[in-house]
């Protein structure tokens, strides 16, 4: 088990290096100049050049990348070009906010998907299951930023029940206040995750329900709740695997939802800094999400291995 995790940890290194190289190159290939966000429109080329040289943006790409990497491995993410703060000061608070959103969304979608998926597998012909099926398809198909706007229109503007933007009210910030701000972004975020996971839970559970050992359990007269536990135990590796992946998507894929709701998370920071070409922040933001994604996969794989001995032999 230990060597399994070590192997996986080692494999993380080339993955993350690859991610940083791709992101770095992409940012450099896309036209646009961070200096534009720093100088007034009527600045002359010489004034722009001076700022560029000071920021080291006049050096060849590979030198810039090597400098950046050398600092990152020492734990220094550098400074934001535009905001003049250490990147960590910008991203770590944002990461907390994103984690709050993503973990809440993960818990909600996991709970909903499990309940709905199991129900649909047990009663595949019921009209409720058909409705769930249609809804989960819609959840996968609807773009989350659009759903976000509709939710704001209905629950914030028309009904006035919930706030439309930010993480807390002006002067607020209590637990209940944050929960109120969390409801709509979570609702918009979980839609596609719930859709994907519900369908996956349903097919996994219904597959297991048809297996012989379940038939035997039922024949022995074991209570339905206990049978369900057996079913879940068998289905859990698959479900966990997908849940882990989905959590990764929740972390990285909330850029648009965070923007619509002005949720101060990593996604919003990345969205804003891409617009300004604030390279160090975008780089670090993507890196953090990549680490989280890879890290979650590792945890899921480890859990999978613990639950299912066959995996450990890989």
């Amino acid at each position: 088990m230990g060597s399994f995790i070590w192997k996986r940890l080692l494999l993380m290194i080339p993955t993350l290096l690859g991610v940083t190289i791709v992101v770095f190159l992409m940012l450099k290939i896309v036209p646009g100049d961070p200096v534009n966000a720093l100088v007034p429109t009527d600045a002359t080329e010489a004034e722009r050049e001076a700022v560029r040289a000071r920021l080291g943006l006049d050096q060849p790409i590979f030198v810039q990348y090597a400098n950046w990497l050398a600092r990152v491995v020492r734990g220094d993410l550098g400074d934001s070009l535009v905001r003049r703060l250490p990147v960590a000061d910008l991203l770590l608070p944002a990461l907390q906010n994103t984690l709050l959103l993503a973990i809440t969304a993960a818990i909600v979608s996991f709970a909903v998907a499990l309940a709905v998926g199991v129900y649909s597998a047990y009663y595949p012909k019921s009209s409720l299951a058909a409705t769930f099926n249609a809804l989960s398809l819609a959840g996968i198909g609807l773009p989350n930023f659009w759903v976000a706007l509709i939710l704001i229109g209905v629950f914030s503007v028309a009904l006035g029940w919930l706030p439309s933007a930010g993480m807390k009210s002006a002067g607020g910030g209590s637990f209940a206040d944050i929960i109120r701000h969390l409801i709509l972004p979570v609702a918009a975020t979980v839609l596609s995750t719930v859709g994907v996971m519900t369908r996956m839970v349903r097919s996994t559970v219904s597959g297991i329900l048809q297996q012989d050992h379940i038939f035997v359990l039922r024949a022995k007269g074991i209570s339905p709740t206990k049978v369900l536990l057996h079913v879940l135990r068998n289905g859990m590796p698959t479900i966990l695997n997908v849940a882990g992946l989905q959590f990764g998507y929740l972390l990285g894929g909330s850029v648009l939802v965070e923007t619509v709701f002005s949720w101060p998370g990593v996604g919003q920071v990345i969205y804003q800094t891409i617009g300004q070409r604030d390279f160090p922040v975008v780089q670090a933001g993507v890196l953090i999400i990549a680490i989280a994604f890879v890290g979650i996969n590792l945890i899921v794989d480890a859990a999978h291995a613990a639950l299912d001995p066959r995996v450990r032999r890989v």
Partner: protein, 537 residues
């Protein structure tokens, strides 16, 4: 086979019910809260920026940063007079009570500073603070030199040769050559507390200190910045106790936040919401200000080289239709760099009405009876660019009607800006860039249109050149009498209307929506805003 009834288990629904009740309670618990804050006079502003501005003396987030943070925390030697809505914002004494230039040497200016003014941290304001501010941006050898600030305020001290303290309340400034626009440039150099900068070092931006009407309280990246009343402001204490700035970059989200009562002030709501907001009792404010939304034409190559073609295009645009119908009154027609009503506007120049027949005739005279094809590079969004997608399609339709077949190439804003600043591409035909530009200070005449500023020497990107215009703007810099200066600007504006180096379309009207609770705000003809007169009902 018996069906398993999983949900027959009685405990399950109870758990769910309890959970739902808990969530509901949490959701509704605070809905009526915040009554304590209501007693205080707090104004919550929804900015269009994606983050709160970095509150140094030249804040980030462009003019919005200057508007809500720069001029609230700080003063310059020369301030903007933002108290009137019926005429353009003019200059007024700021931290300098008065100033004059020497008659024998017009490059030498003397500024007499306001006495008994203190920074928010108690440090007295005097000549040393002014010199400190200048050194911080202009002297790379200075201990507290800040290269980033130097870059972001470069255009403000481009014409300053040297500066010196004469006594505690007097400083002198020497310009590079005779330069009468100096007071305009000085509005861009805000003065911070030297003690705060010395004490905080790089952390100064987390605890900025100025002399302005509001002082800094707190900020949270991406969330909010809180400013509080400066009780001892030299220009009179503001009525508000507190201002909360919230970045909400999505216009629909900003609108929703206003409607939900989370903010009292929304910058640029979507124009299609104007009628809805009005009927719901919101204050919809508009006023022209020095802003243009034109096409910068490539006058050095291709058909746009011919003045008649440029005039033809200007006659082809239905500006009234775009302003009042498409944009529901959020813009006003533009036929030269300044708007009608501004002192520098000229009624002598070509006044382009909507006249497609004249446009066709001019095109025929220029040798294009059947029109021509061209490409315009346009932004998809971006600061000051209004609603470029629909507006560009509107112009495209207008031009098509007179035979000019425009292909619109929509480019992401930063990319477009970078391309624009790099001049017109050499390897393909591009007729124009669509880009909004500020015309706040008279320096824009030379920066955007003079021969000396033709790319790469400046940002006259289209390459327009007219010796008579050059002579006028050079002269304006040496004229100190205001009315004489104004007359020259008008003459220059008339030439720019006739020569049409730009395809003028509209001026933005600075649309903002305020809740009915906000009282006493004057919407100035300016990029900036005076928040001291506001009170909350």
């Amino acid at each position: 086979m018996r069906r398993f009834n999983l949900f027959a288990n009685a405990r399950m629904p109870a758990v769910w019910l309890a959970l739902a009740a808990l969530l509901l309670a949490a959701a509704c618990g605070e809905a009526g809260g915040g009554s304590e804050a209501a007693k205080e006079q707090t104004l919550v502003i929804g900015m269009s920026a994606a983050n709160i501005p970095v509150p140094d003396t030249t804040p980030t987030e462009g003019y919005e940063g200057m508007r809500f943070v720069g001029y609230q925390l700080y003063d310059a030697l020369v301030n903007w007079d933002l108290s009137k809505s019926d005429k353009q914002a003019t200059l007024k004494p700021g931290l300098a009570e008065s100033w004059e230039h020497s008659d024998s040497d017009p490059t030498l200016w003397t500024f007499h500073l306001r006495k008994n003014v203190s920074f928010h941290d108690g440090t007295p304001f005097n000549a040393d603070s002014v010199i400190f501010a200048f050194e911080r941006m202009m002297n790379p050898q200075f201990e507290y030199y800040n290269a980033q600030l130097a870059g972001s305020s470069a255009s403000s001290f481009r014409h300053i040769e040297s500066y010196a303290k004469i006594d505690d309340s007097t400083v002198s400034i020497k310009t590079k050559g005779v330069y009468s626009f100096l007071p305009y440039d000085l509005t861009g150099i805000l003065i911070a507390s030297p003690e705060a900068i010395k004490k905080e070092g790089a952390g100064y931006v987390n605890n900025p200190v100025g002399t302005g009407p509001f002082r800094f309280m707190s900020m949270k990246q991406g969330q909010e910045m809180v400013l509080a009343k400066n009780e001892t402001y030299w220009g009179g204490a503001p009525k508000l106790d507190q201002i909360v700035l919230r970045p909400i970059s999505d216009p629909s989200a900003r609108l929703a936040a206003l409607q939900a009562g989370e903010i009292d002030w929304a910058e640029v709501p979507p124009p299609e919401s104007i009628e809805l907001l009005k009927s719901a009792g919101y204050q919809l404010l508009t006023n022209p200000y020095p802003h243009i939304w034109p096409y910068v034409l490539n006058v050095q190559d291709g058909p746009w080289k011919d003045k008649r073609v440029r005039q033809a295009a200007n006659y082809a645009i239905d500006r009234e239709g775009m302003s009042s119908v498409l944009l529901v009154g959020a813009a006003t027609p533009s036929t030269q760099p300044m708007y009608k009503g501004h002192a520098w506007y000229s009624d002598k120049g070509e006044a382009y009405d909507y006249n497609p027949d004249k446009a066709k005739q001019l095109l025929a005279e220029a040798g294009y009876p059947n029109g021509f094809k061209t490409t315009f590079l346009v932004p998809s969004s971006g600061s000051g660019n209004m609603w470029p997608l629909v507006m560009n399609e509107y112009v495209q339709k207008n031009l098509k009607a007179v035979g000019i077949d425009v292909k619109l190439e929509t480019i992401e804003w930063q990319t477009l800006l970078t391309q624009f600043l790099g001049g017109f591409p050499k390897d393909k035909e591009v007729g124009a860039y669509n880009i909004s530009l500020p015309t706040i200070s008279p320096t824009f005449y030379s920066m955007f249109f003079s021969t000396a500023s033709i790319f790469p020497n400046g940002i006259n990107i289209g390459g327009y050149s007219n010796p008579e215009f050059d002579r006028l703007v050079e002269k304006a810099e040496t004229v100190f009498d205001e009315s004489e200066q104004t007359a020259i600007f008008r003459e220059a504006s008339a030439i720019l209307a006739d020569d049409a180096p730009y395809l003028y379309v509209v001026h933005d009207l600075n649309l903002r929506a305020l809740s009915p609770k906000v009282k006493g705000f004057v919407q100035p003809q300016s990029w900036f805003a005076d928040l001291t007169t506001i009170s909350m009902e």
